[in-house]
Amino acid sequence: MKARRSAPLRPLLFCLCALLPQAAAFGQEPPPSGTPADETAQRLSDEGLEAYRAGKYETAARLYKQAFQVRGDPALLYNLARTYEKMGKASLAVEYYRRYLVAEGTDPKLRARAEERVSSMTSAAPPPPGTKATKAAEPAPPPQQTKKPLSPGSKLLWAGVGLGAAGVAGLAVGIGLYGAAASAYGEFNGTTDELDKIAARDRAQGFAVGSAVGYAVGGALAAGGAALIGVGLYKLRGERKASRVMILPLPGGAAASLAGAF
C-alpha cells in the first residue's frame, strides 16, 4: 500500500515503529499537519541540522530522534543514519539507513545513497568508535533539511487564483476598451465631417475588436481559473478526509504505520 504524502499545504507521513528505540508512542495518532506538534517537529529537525553542522553529533542525534517521535518523516531516519555514521556508530547508521530504505515516500536519490552507504559499511570493517569515517566512506550527502512541498490541491488552488486574476484583468481591459469604443462611436455619430467620421469609426472598430478580445481572453482565463480553484478545493477536501492504516515491512519485524493527510 502506498502512503499518501500529500496533506493540505504541509504533507505529513509518520510511522510508529516498534523497533525504534525511542518510539514510546507506538499506536499514537499522528499529529495533524500545521499543528503546534508539527511545528515542534520542524523546529527540532532544524536544530538537529544546526547541531550536525556544528559537529555536535550527539545533540543532533537526540534532536532528530525527538523530531521523529513527533513527526515520522523518513528523511529524519536518513539524517539519523548520517549522524551515527559521523559518530562512527556504523551499526546504528546501517540500521537507520535500512529503516529509511523500507520507509514509504522516500526520495529516490537518497535511497540510492542510503543503499550505497549500507553496502559500503557492511562490506568494510567498521571504524573504531569515535573515529571519523574515511574519505572513501564520505560520499553520502549531508543531512537533508526537510521541506514540505505543496500538495496538488494547493497547487491547483493557487494556479486557479493566478489564472482568475489574469482573467479579471482581461475583463477589465475589455470593459475599458468598450468604453473607448462607445466614446469613439459617439464622436462618429456627432460629426458630419467625413474624415473625422472615418477616423472615429476606425477607432471605434479597433476598440470594439480589442474589447471583444479582452472579454474573450479574460473570460476564458477567469473560467479556467475558477475551474482550477474548484478542482483544487475539491482535492484539498479529499486530502483532509483521506487517512488510512498501513503495515510497513521493516527489518526485524512488522510495524504499524498510520498514514494520513491533514
Binding site: 468598450y178 462607445a182 467625413e194 467620421k197 472615418i198 469609426r201 475588436v209 474589447s211 471583444a212 472579454y215
Partner: protein
Amino acid sequence: MASRTTFAAALALHLSGCALGFDYHECNKDADCPTVSGQKLSCTSEGLCVAGTPASQLCTRTHPQNPAAGAVPIGAIMRLSLMSGADTFLLQAVQLGVDEVNSFVGAGQRPVALHICDSGRSPEDASKALRVLLSERKVAAVVGPSTSREALAVAKVAGDAQVPLVSPSATAASLMDLQQKDYVYKIAPSDNQQGPVLARLVKERSGSAAKVALIYVDDAYGTGLQGAVSVSLPSSPELVQSFKEGDAKTINAAIMAVKAKGSALTDVIIIANPDAAEFARQLESLPKPPMMGTGGVRIYMTDGAKNDSLLALARDNLPAWTEHLRRLSGTSPTAEGNAYKAFETAFRGKFGQSPTSDAFAPYAYDSFYALAVALGAGQSGPQVAAGLRRFTGNAAPSAVGGSDYLKAVGRMEKGESFPLSGVTGTIRFKDGSREGGLFEEWSISPTDTSKFQSRLIQ
C-alpha cells in the same frame, strides 16, 4: 464562484456584442441622409452621411497615371467640377510642368507624381481635399487652391501640417495677413495692385466725373478687391452692392440695382468669379456707348471673369452682342516675353489650344516650377517652404523650363537665395506674397470669340 464566473462571462458577451454591433452604415443614397444645420448631407460610397462632397469624389486622379517608383508626391487642388471645370487650363499648365520635370529624371532628378483633387462645391470641400492629400497621399507641397476664399479656408490645415501651398490665382490681399504665411504662397499679383489698375482704366475712359456702380462677390477676394478699387476711383461709387457666389437671389438683386441706376451710370465694375457670365448676360440691356463720343455704360470685370464660360456666352450671342462685347473688358495679371511664348507654344503643342483663355494658366505653371525647384532644399514640407522663401534678393535669376531648371535646382541644393525667372516674370516672395507683377486689359475678340484679346497695362 461559478455563479460569478457565469455572470462575468455573460457581461463580457453582452458588452462585446454591443461594441461589435455598433452600426456604422448610415445610408445607401443621398436621399437617406438628413439635413443638418441647413446643409443636406451626402452619402459616401462607405455608407456615411457627410457634409460636402464625398472625399472619394474629390481626389480621383494622378499625373502621370502610373507614377514612377519613388516619385515625390505633389498635390493639386483645382476647381474641376465647379463651373464645368473652371481650372482646367490651370491643371493642364501644371501637368505640362510635371511632364517637363519628369523628363529630367535621367539627369539625377527624382520624378514627381501629381495627385489631383477637385476643390468641390465649397471651401470646406477644398479643405477636405487638402486633408486627403496630406493624410493619404503624403504630399510634400500643393499647387492650389485657386481662389482666395479656398486658400483662406485651407490655410490653417496647411499651416498645422507644415506643408506649403502655392496658389496660382488667389489674389486677395488678406492672404498676407495669415498667421500661416510661411506655408501659404500666392504667385499672382495682389489685388492691392490690381485695384488701382482697374480704377485707372475707369478714369481714362470716363474722367474724374465717372459715376460707378461697384458689384462684388461677398468673399475675401471680392471684398479685398472692392476696397482696393474704391480707394483708387476718382470719386466715390454711386452704388456699391455685394452678392453671394452662386446665389441667384442676391445676384438678381444686384443686377436690378444696377439697372435701376441705368443711364445715370458711366461705368459698372463687376468683381465676380463663376457668376461673371450671368452678370454679362443680364446687363446687356444697359445703354451701350456709341462708337464715337460719350454716353452709355461701360462694364469692367476682373481676373476672375476671364474664363471660357464668358467666351461661350459671347459665342452663343453673336452677332447681336457685338456692341455689348465691345464695351465689356477687364483687368488681369498677365505674362509676356519669350519665356511666356515658349510656354504658350508648349501648351498648345500638348493640349491643342492656347492657354490664354485663362489668365492664370502661366501662373499655375510657375507655381509648380517654384515648388519643383524648392524641392531642391529638401522633400519635407518645412524644407520646401524654406526653399520658397529663398526666392528673394537681387542675385541673377534662374529660369524655369528646359535645362535651366536643373541649374535652379542646383542653386537651391547649395542653399543659395535667388529670384526665379518664370513665364510670368521674376518671382520673389515676401511674407508669402509675390512682389511686383504685370497686368493686362482683356476683352473678348468681336471677330473670334474663341479667344480673348489683351493689351499690357504699364
